[in-house]
Amino acid sequence: MNPGTFIQLVIDGLSTGSIYAALALAIVLVNQATGLINFAQGGMAVLSAYIAWSLNGFGVPLILAILAAVVVSFFLGALIERYLIRRFERGDPDTAVVVTIGLLTLITGLCAWIWTYNNRLFPSLFPLETIKVAGAVISVRSLGTIIVIVVIMGLMQALFLGTKLGLALRAVAINPASAAFSGINVGRNLMVGWGLAAVLGAVAGVLVAPQLTLTPGMMDSALVYALAACILGGLSSPIGVVVAAWLIGVLENLAAVYIPFIGHDLKIAVPFILIFVVLLVRPQGLFGRKAVVRV
């Protein structure tokens, strides 16, 4: 076993895992704020990436285009919550989930209608350069992606645990009625939760677009992995889902190369077998808290 190859596979795994992590964080955020799983998160991320791509095409420098797309995404997310999801929040959660799936269909169709299915080349935020460490070639893009996700994860953990807004968001999620009685503006908090999730999605979108090229269905498979990371890490823990997403990315790579039986053709099964095993042992996920209902 060549140590350079091993390190490289781990870093590459962390980098792909980081993309799943960004989307998983967005799903966790919405779930924490509204108790829903938003299947449209991947579609919203693609839409954000298209907005950044279009602005960049009009001559706006890349970093500004991305920031603008992030801001637009925040408001789009908030508006979607206010005018679409709000109507289904009090009802059957299954209905709301179907609404988010419908939303995904709509957004994907809209992107295809405006920007067509042709692959659009999205410029990378990070240079194509590499650094050599212990025989491994590590790309700046991989490192940059990982660092961005670590920073965002830290911010989210701080937001939820250390700020009044975070407390309010959690209160609204756990018990909207009581939260409203204690003077929290439930509606505004829900909008903020969705807006922040859309921002995370936008980050995931612009991180992955340079590698996959921009197409309306770009995030479809990332969404599956992100959901897997949510279940594996536990829906209530931002750190948990990031660790789970990294685990998925790294294990997939290592299993493909070092377990001949699995190889590159069967590696997609690895995260799902992992989920199966974890859920049997710890149904709340690796880092999740058990939902306790007091009677």
């Binding site: 060549n2 994907t108 169709g109 692959n119």
Partner: protein, 423 residues
């Protein structure tokens, strides 16, 4: 699970809209009743042909990940016949001049939809043509044989369509995968130096066909050794782990039999990051200079080779040539395709139009049987925009209409012919 279900929903909505749009377009055009030849010739006319017009059907991906090339498969032939119709039509061997209408439906690269599209078109079109995709074309191959509907000059490299015994009503247009792999293997085997080869191939008939042709060509060549061989799935979004493993082999030639555009771009980038700089071989459908090589930074490699039989529309000299300029102009005017196409399929489908015109000229009766006879009798025909050395030849059983390919080498902007490896 849920993604699959969701994809299907997306797919069916988009397809629904597509079908409605096409139906509406068909209606507004007036449709035209088949079999309206009154006096007729000696034989009763087949569906989809009258004394003044002929209708051709296409099922191809117009939405979804393969829509880029798919749109081209309609645009090129529509442009070709659009220009011919504007001049009054195409002269047939039976003495009639007919306009050529195209009915194209979207199958999203979904075999089931392709079959449904075929069922919808089979009784109103004279022949099916030009559509892209191996699984999609395979989905209705047997039905077309049973219905005796021509499924010809389609854009797939699957050899089954060019075997007359297995596919009496079919004929492929583009070279079969084996032709391409073989051409590259022959060039490499002719090198004066020793080479080690790493192979990455798609885990399906496409990848296997390329590798089969390549291996057949290097068999017995002492100077070539395949040192590492890996596969990937067509649904994978990253092949970084495979490339890391292949780079470890230190091979000086990398044969990447890959059909997914974004994966080829990221492979080009990843190998550079790894510091592995072999010579590359890429299939003809994923070697576009503007859409793949430039964004992938392919100039960093000692050589990127591909095979081709048609000129590349993205090449700098293309628009300056008379044929190239006419092609781009007709694409804009008749096919509503204003850009310079990034995919070769636009030129291929234009050549399919020209080949069909040649066949129509030899048809003496307005029947599908007579058409198939005339179709299998074209040889030495040089379609517009063909590279020197390539011709259309439909007379050889087991080979598609175009089977002679030229190996080309990327020169930083476009491709130039490569006669030998060491030049």
């Amino acid at each position: 699970m849920s993604t699959k279900r969701r994809k299907m929903r997306v797919a069916s909505v988009v397809a629904g809209i597509g079908v409605i749009a096409v139906l509406a377009a068909g209606c507004s055009r007036g449709g035209g009743t088949p079999n309206s030849t009154e006096d007729g010739g000696s034989a009763e006319a087949s569906p989809g042909i009258t004394d003044s017009s002929i209708t051709l059907g296409i099922t191809t991906p117009l939405s979804g990940p393969t829509a880029g090339p798919g749109t081209c498969t309609v645009a090129g032939i529509t442009a070709y016949f659009g220009a011919k119709n504007a001049e009054g039509g195409v002269e047939f061997g039976d003495g009639n001049t007919r306009t050529v209408e195209i009915e194209a439906l979207d199958d999203e690269y979904d075999p089931q939809k392709a079959k449904a599209n075929y069922d919808q078109l089979k009784s109103s079109v004279f022949a099916m043509t030009s559509g892209l995709g191996t699984p999609t074309n395979r989905a209705w191959r047997e039905a077309a044989i049973a219905d005796e509907v021509p499924q010809v000059l389609i854009q797939t490299g699957d050899p089954i369509f060019s075997s007359q015994e297995e596919s009496p009503w079919q004929l492929g247009f583009v070279p079969i995968y084996q032709n391409e792999g073989q051409a590259f293997g022959e060039l490499l085997a002719g090198s004066a130096e020793e080479h080690t080869v790493a192979i990455l191939s798609q885990n399906d008939d496409y990848g296997e066909g390329y590798v089969e042709g390549f291996k057949a060509a290097i068999e017995g060549a002492d100077n070539i050794e395949v040192v590492k061989e890996l596969t990937y799935e067509a649904t994978d979004t990253s092949v970084d782990a495979q490339l890391t493993e292949l780079a470890g082999s230190g091979a000086d030639v990398f044969f990447n039999a890959m059909s997914i555009t974004p994966l080829v771009i990221s492979s080009l980038q990843k190998t550079q990051e790894l510091g592995w700089l072999p010579s590359w071989f890429l299939p003809s459908n994923t070697s576009s200079p503007s859409a793949i090589l430039e964004p992938g930074g392919a100039a960093a490699f000692p050589g990127v080779y591909t095979v081709a039989f048609a000129q590349s529309a993205a090449a700098p000299t293309f628009a300056e040539s008379e044929e190239g300029a006419a092609f781009l102009e007709q694409l804009k005017e008749y096919a509503n395709y204003p850009d310079v196409p990034a995919f070769p399929h636009c030129v291929w489908s234009y050549q399919i139009g020209a080949t069909l015109e040649e066949v129509f000229g030899n048809m003496t009766e307005p029947t599908r049987e007579n058409f198939m006879e005339a179709l299998r009798d074209v040889s030495g025909f040089t379609a517009p925009l063909m590279l020197e050395g390539s011709t259309v030849d439909t007379t050889e059983d087991g080979q598609p209409a175009v089977s002679t390919v030229q190996v080309q080498k990327y020169n930083g902007k476009g491709y130039a012919p490569a006669e030998s490896w060491d030049q």
